[in-house]
């Protein structure tokens, strides 16, 4: 009798655990579902045109004569900021990871790893604040920009924010390379740098690609920092000193004002769907490369 009760409660606990395990899938599907749901009415909305959405730079959701919902300028803004920030962050981040993992003393390594972890924990709103107050003033002072909130500001912030992520993931990739590789190279008379260049970097390639992709995905999805530091102009930027609007910042800026269930509101949700699909594919690719590294 006690045995029956015991087995029943075990079976119950195991089903709860299974459900929790599956919950991540439910949540991801749920996110996609609910965001799509709010944007769904656009499918049959006459004033909404898909080609205009993806290929027009005219974004006038509140215009009185002709509402326009083109997000191309925001896509340009997102790409511009993200690519520039990756250009800065990847060499710096991978370089720092090489130093931490291969060149510095164990004591220093511990300190640096703690520092990197703390820097990675800084909330994005604090970064945005730093961009708004500190970096914008620096930009105005040292360049001939009129305002300090622009593409450059956003790119610098994103770079600073994604460097800790890239550093720790690259470090993991280097740690995964077996010591025997290093020892073999050193035994042949290679210096540490030659070992890194000729042996380590190729061996950790998949992990590094995964790290860069994950950093890329995070940068595309960053909201608060770019909202606060890139300005309000919805134009395709012509120079890095131009203010821009990213997809993420635009949603955050206008969602509060758009009346619930209006077309404007639904289009903002559609941008959310677009963002979800973009980051989903990037994460898929990153996951592929990280898995490839693990199976090496």
């Amino acid at each position: 009798m006690q045995r029956r009760w015991h087995k029943l409660s075990e079976a119950l606990i195991e089903s709860v655990i299974r459900v929790c395990g599956f919950s991540a899938v439910i949540f991801v599907l749920g996110i996609f579902f609910f965001v799509c749901r709010e944007a769904a009415p656009l499918w049959s909305e006459p004033s909404f045109h898909w080609t205009e959405f993806l290929f027009s730079i005219e974004w006038q959701p509140t215009s009185l004569h002709q509402k326009r919902y083109g997000v191309l300028a925001m896509i340009a803004g997102t790409l511009g900021i993200t690519l520039l920030s990756m250009l800065i962050a990847v060499p710096l981040g991978v370089g720092a990871a090489i130093y931490i993992s291969e060149f510095c003393s164990p004591r220093l390594r511990e300190i640096l790893k703690v520092l990197v972890e703390l820097l990675a924990a800084i909330p994005s709103v604090v970064w945005g604040f730093a961009g708004l107050t500190i970096i914008s003033r620096l930009i105005v002072r040292y360049t001939n920009a009129d305002v300090g909130v622009n593409l450059l500001n956003g790119a610098i912030l994103l770079a600073l924010m994604s460097i800790p992520v890239i550093v720790s993931l690259s470090e993991d990739a280097f740690k995964a390379v077996p010591d025997s590789y290093r020892e073999a190279a050193l035994a042949m008379g290679a210096t540490r740098w030659q070992t890194v260049w000729a042996v380590l970097l190729p061996a950790a390639r998949n992990g590094l690609i995964g790290a860069v992709l994950l950093g890329f995905g995070r940068s595309i999805g960053e909201t608060m920092a770019v909202l606060m530091a890139t300005g309000h102009a919805i134009n395709i930027p012509h120079s890095i000193l131009d203010p821009v609007r990213t997809l993420t910042a635009n949603i955050a800026a206008e969602l509060g004002e758009a009346p619930a269930q209006s077309t404007h509101y639904q289009v903002l949700f559609l941008i959310g769907v677009l963002l979800f699909l973009i980051t989903f594919s990037i994460n898929l690719a990153a996951g592929y490369f990280i898995r490839k590294e693990r199976h090496q």
Binding site: V125, L160, M224
Partner: protein, 295 residues
């Protein structure tokens, strides 16, 4: 002792090595200096306003002066409730993935989902919270909606830490337990989980840190810039009410509130940083303690 000849090739190699070492160190320094300078500058600018009073008193003069107590309490509310939801879900999900799951497509999908959940942009989480909790479940714009949104957003953090902790428990413990007639759950409950506590704790602490700093997910689901509360109370918010939060406070203060003395938003930022840093330091300390004990 044999003579070691420094040939031109060897000299070149040594020079190259030194250059590489210096360049890499320079890279590291060029990253750390701006970061530390920014943090230091924030502290410096915040100094005039930083005090215990700042933490404990409420904003005055139309939010332009005074303290941040309601926002601080609001953040504590959001963090606690989201933790209460995310922790059991995340821990049990990690238990499933490490102790029960086999190598099949079903579980590959789950792994993929966890990875993707961590990478969803925070604004998309906000949209989800709006669509699912505020409107879908009719909970409305409230502490509960915001906390649930935060919980789903931060669940991957707990899953990752817990998984790592569970995987580091030696397999031989499980085998010994099974051989004695313990069921899978008994083994997990009596042997595996008690030996993963510090890793799980680390995950919880990291979740708290993430949840405290997020702005976008709560901005549209329950956090507001101003909410009248009774001063000095410890439980000023009900679950179905809106609340203030430190991150939201910083955002609105710095972008939409003219005429504020600079020290106040700086102090809010510093307070948020101190909160996040101290929480993360506890997690780091736990990890180091664990590592030294294992040795």
């Amino acid at each position: 002792m044999s003579r070691f000849l420094v040939t031109p090739q060897v000299a070149a190699k040594i020079r190259q090595e030194r250059i590489a070492h210096s360049v890499l160190a320079l890279i590291l320094v060029s990253i750390l200096i701006p970061l530390l300078a920014i943090v230091a500058y924030l502290f410096w600018r915040a100094a005039p306003a930083l005090s215990l009073d700042f933490l404990l008193s409420s904003p005055t003069l139309g939010m332009r002066e005074g303290g941040v107590w309601p926002a601080f309490v609001g953040t504590l509310y959001l963090v606690t409730i989201s933790l209460a939801v995310a922790a059991p879900l995340g821990i049990l999900a990690a238990v499933y993935l490490t102790e029960y799951a086999r190598e099949n497509w079903f579980n590959k999908a789950i792994n993929l989902a966890v990875l993707n959940l961590a990478g969803v942009p925070s604004i998309v989480h906000a949209l989800f919270g709006l669509g699912a909790f505020v409107y879908g479940a009719r909970i409305g714009f409230s502490v509960l909606s915001a906390s649930l949104t935060l919980a789903i957003m931060t669940m991957p953090v707990i899953i990752a830490s817990t998984r790592q902790a569970l995987l580091s428990v030696p397999h031989s413990y499980r085998e010994a337990s099974w051989n004695l007639g313990a069921s899978r759950w008994q083994t997990i409950r009596r042997i595996v989980l008690p030996n993963s506590i510090s890793g799980i704790l680390t995950g919880i602490i990291l979740q708290v840190s993430r949840a405290a700093g997020e702005t976008a997910p709560i901005m549209f689901t329950g956090a507001v810039f101003y909410k009248a509360i009774k001063p000095g109370t410890l439980f000023p918010y009900a679950l179905d009410e809106q609340c203030m939060a430190l991150s939201m406070h910083l955002y609105t203060l710095s972008t939409q509130t003219p005429g504020v003395d600079e020290s106040i938003p700086n102090a809010t930022a510093v307070l948020l940083l101190l909160l996040v840093f101290s929480v993360n330091s506890v997690a780091i300390a736990i990890r180091m303690l664990l590592r030294s004990r294992v040795r």
